[in-house]
């Protein structure tokens, strides 16, 4: 690779950084003021592209410069209007909700928007016209660079400068900065904060829409854009520092450059090995983030966030002290276990019961392991599927490549998950709240991408086929009983640990990190080990899953599965120990029966999440307890 070649790749990176910067800046801006991490921000980006394709095509396509640019701008503005509508209709209702609920609500929105886009524009990728006047190329460093890319390189710093002036020099900017700290006081000074919030949300949405609309001449509109851009934007925002516009720009550049250079370097021989750097882009992104987080936990330009005044002060009801199960509950638990043991005898009457039973049990272990860190640990992982997937792939790949027997493969599942959880957890526990959520989500996406891209080993999108249990577990009833036993032991162990000093230390670190450190608890270490433990148990669930299905695909690591876990925990109630068990059972049954009935089940799931967040914030078990006032027995 020549120097000119690398320099040219660097320029290409600059062009890619532009759209990423717009999206990340908008995300960061909205977070700064509303303290909501808007997962649906990627949807606004995607809508920006789709709307631009439609408008630009309708207004004369590539032949008409005025039509093209007004179409792009109109798409950005429409995204702004949609954003403002989202703020007014939905987000205003959840500003006082716990941040986890806010994340879920915006995720629900993302699901709904995605299905709405599918319904409006169809599943096919849509190509937009080239930009009039910029469809050619200019020669730089002896190579052809698309003029449009050159245009993008210039437009990002221009927007950055504009934003900087607005925020540093105008009263509006000062008010926005004031609102990030104390919105209630701003109201008492005569500022209409509701309007200010809507304005900021609209501005952030315009930025996302603009980022998407400008992509119209670069890539086809497709339904995967929302998720892929929001993951990248998360990494950018974490690296740049939440709330810093300049940070977003620098980080977008950094990430885009590192990726571009990896592609530019291509295949390099090292001591006889050929390393293909262009496949390492995601790993490189991860490395950049890891290095930045070690050096500066709040990002390059970020600062520790202070609690915002007038925000979530009506926090969720505090959790009661945990108590061992009452006699009645213990008997009830045993009775349920006994009934489940007898389930195989009903197989003749209900042949589907055992299949469903295995699904439900796997869901229960998945949810229980997530609840372990999320409830008592206070670490809401948005990427718990990573450890499920590592477990599943750990087992499946052993079978595929080494023809390992089932016992060995099942034992390897938690080991693979534990290694991943130890690595990712080490970074994750350094952050908290929404930062932790974003980081765990980004890690899960990275695992997903590696599995997806490393086709030679993992089978890529086809996954791994033919992982069947060996005798005697090749009979469904036997496999069901194995699953029941493993899940019961797993759930019981997690529960036992919660009552032991380690579980208390984890809760102590959640309740009051200051106090916990002051009495000598290494809170990060305790939370790290807890994270690894939860990942390990989740890996067990993944291993069982692989053999239950006979084949696995990257879907086991998808964000959708991570979110399913969150919904299960919240459905049951995060503040109770039995909540995740109930939530997982209800959810798994629902999914089996209802979700497969409709093509738009994403939207349906989104709707369920919204109802849950808005109407049952303490979950089914929480609502039941409130009804019966017997919380301390569970």
């Amino acid at each position: 690779m020549t120097f000119e070649g690398l320099a040219f790749q660097a320029l290409d990176g600059l062009a890619s950084a532009s759209s990423l910067f717009f999206v990340a800046a908008g995300l960061s801006l909205i977070f700064g003021v509303t303290r909501i991490v808007n997962l649906a921000h990627g949807s606004l980006y995607m809508l920006g592209t789709y709307i631009a394709v439609t408008l630009v095509t309708a207004m004369g396509g590539a032949g008409d410069a005025f039509g093209f640019w007004s179409g792009v701008l109109a798409a950005a503005l429409i995204a702004g209007v949609i954003g403002a509508a989202i703020e007014v209709v939905l987000l205003r209702r959840i500003y006082v909700a716990p941040e986890l609920f806010q994340l879920l609500a915006t995720f629900a929105l993302m699901l709904i928007v995605n299905d709405a886009t599918l319904w409006l524009w169809g599943p096919e990728d849509l190509l937009g016209p080239r930009a009039p006047g910029l469809s050619g190329a200019i020669e730089i460093l002896g190579r052809e660079m698309p003029s449009y890319d050159a245009f993008l390189i210039v437009v990002a710093p221009a927007v950055l400068g504009l934003l900087y002036v607005v925020f540093a020099r105008t009263r509006f900017g000062a008010l926005v900065r004031a609102a990030t700290q104390d919105r209630e006081m701003l109201g008492a000074l005569g500022v209409n904060q509701a309007l200010l919030f809507t304005a900021v949300f609209a501005l952030g949405s315009v930025l996302a829409g603009l980022g998407g609309a400008l992509q119209v001449a670069r890539e086809p509109a497709n339904l995967g854009m929302d998720l892929s851009v929001i993951t990248d934007a998360f990494v950018v925002v974490v690296v740049g520092g939440m709330g810093s516009i300049v940070g977003s720009y620098v980080a977008a550049l950094l990430i885009a450059e590192v990726k571009a250079l990896c592609i530019g370097i291509g295949v390099v021989g090292f001591a006889g090995f050929a390393v293909n750097f262009s496949k390492l882009t995601l790993v490189a992104e991860f490395l950049v983030m890891a290095i930045v987080l070690i050096a500066r936990p709040h990002g390059l330009f970020g600062r520790a966030q202070v609690a915002v005044r007038g925000a979530a002060e009506a926090e969720a009801e505090m959790e009661a002290p945990i108590r061992p199960a009452s006699r009645a509950l213990a008997l009830f638990g045993l009775a349920v276990f006994g009934a489940l043991l007898l389930l195989p005898f009903s197989a003749r009457a209900f042949p589907y019961a055992l299949v469903l039973g295995v699904d439900v049990l796997i869901a229960v272990l998945f949810a229980a392991s997530l609840h372990f860190i999320m409830g008592p640990g206070g670490m809401a992982s948005f990427g718990h599927a990573a450890y499920f997937g590592l477990g599943a792939y750990g087992a499946a790949l052993l079978v595929k490549w080494f023809a390992a027997p089932m016992g060995l493969a099942l034992a390897a599942a938690p080991v693979a998950a534990a290694l991943g959880a130890l690595l990712f957890g080490w970074f994750s526990v350094r952050l908290s709240g929404v930062y932790l959520a974003m980081l765990t989500l980004a890690f899960a996406q990275i695992v997903w991408s590696i599995v997806f891209q490393w086709q030679e080993v993992t089978g890529g999108s086809n996954g791994v086929l033919g992982i069947w249990p060996s005798a005697p577990f090749d009979r469904l009833a036997a496999y069901y009983l194995l699953t029941l036993l493993v899940v019961a032991v797993g759930v019981w162990l997690l529960r036992r640990i919660l009552f032991a000093p380690f579980g208390y230390a984890m809760r102590a670190g959640r309740d009051s990190p200051l106090r916990a450190e002051a009495i000598g608890i290494d809170v990060k270490r305790v939370h790290w080990l807890a994270f690894a433990l939860a990942g390990t148990v989740c890996g067990v669930a993944g291993g069982i899953f692989a053999f239950a299905k006979g084949s696995i695909s990257p879907e086991t690591i998808s964000i959708g599965r991570s979110i399913d876990g969150l919904v299960m925990v919240l459905l049951g109630g995060v503040g109770t120990l039995s909540g995740p068990l109930v939530g997982a059972s209800v959810f798994a049954v629902l999914q089996d029966f209802v979700m497969q009935e409709t093509e738009y089940w994403h939207a349906l799931l989104g709707g369920i999440i919204l109802v849950l967040v808005l109407a049952f914030p303490s979950g089914l078990v929480g609502a039941f307890l409130r009804l019966t006032r017997r919380r301390r027995f569970l």
Binding site: A174, R177, A178, E184, M185, A188, L189, G190
Partner: protein, 252 residues
């Protein structure tokens, strides 16, 4: 008391009239039927022990509590259903007990955040308006710090800034929540001088205070709160003379 006007007019409504005010934090009722008035140009002290409901009363007047009930009138206009920013725009200025300076904003930006249009009193005469330069004259310390970030100021300086920021809104009625709390005695003295100056310029002031020493220097009348109810009302002179009342509602 000022001299009676030359021509008799219908009695003007007080600057602030609060009637039967109830307020809640969550499920707990904090205020029970609080009733009081602040006349035009008057300084009224709302006194009582910690937790008696002084700050809650101010927040309830300002519309900062989600759940409140009762009548709040500003120059006769009912404001109890309005949002905080709407109440502020009617000329009610609020300085909170914990100051709530915007720490990432400079002194100048903090002042700009409070800026509102000029106003007139109920009788049509122009009310005092404040520019940044006026306030730098009133609080000379702030003038030297104009580019300092709010978060980098001492508590006493922040206390001045929070009052100055409220004055930028050209208020007619001022709610001062514990201006003497948690600052050094020298600052307390400066604060007392400022309050008397504002009274001279015609502002009507409601002051929450625990310190009788401070209240007696600046206030005309006082109301004593206990457990969210008004237990005593009278002039400041009556209060300073009445050791029994002080013992019952203030001394610990």
């Amino acid at each position: 008391m000022s001299a009676p006007p030359a021509t008799p007019k219908p009695p003007a409504p007080p600057a602030l009239a609060v009637g039967h005010l109830d307020a809640w934090y969550g499920a707990a009722q904090i205020l029970r039927g609080v009733t009081f008035t602040v006349g035009q140009g008057e300084v009224v002290a709302l006194m009582g022990r910690n937790g008696a409901g002084k700050s809650t009363t101010m927040k309830a007047v300002m519309g900062l509590l989600p759940r409140r009930r009762g009548a709040v009138r500003v120059y006769g206009r009912a404001v109890s259903g309005l949002k905080p920013f709407e109440i502020a725009r009617l000329g009610v200025g609020y300085t909170p007990e914990d100051r709530r300076i915007f720490s990432d904003l400079t002194v100048l930006e903090n002042l700009d955040a409070g800026r509102q249009k000029p106003r007139r009193f109920a009788d049509g005469t122009p009310a005092p308006t404040w520019t940044r330069e006026d306030l730098f004259k009133l609080f000379p310390n702030l003038a030297e710090l104009r580019h300092r970030l709010g978060g980098r100021m001492s508590g006493g300086e922040q206390q001045m800034l929070t009052v100055a920021r409220t004055l930028m809104g050209n208020p007619l009625v001022l709610l001062l929540d514990e201006p003497s709390e948690g600052v050094a005695p020298v600052i307390v003295e400066a604060m007392a001088d400022t309050i008397l100056e504002l009274k001279n310029r015609g502002l009507s002031i409601l002051l929450s205070e625990q310190n009788v020493g401070f209240a007696e220097i600046v206030s005309d009348r006082a109301y004593l709160l206990e457990k969210g109810q008004i237990r005593w009302a009278g002039t400041m002179a009556e209060l300073t003379e009445n050791a029994d009342v002080q013992r019952s509602y203030l001394t610990l």
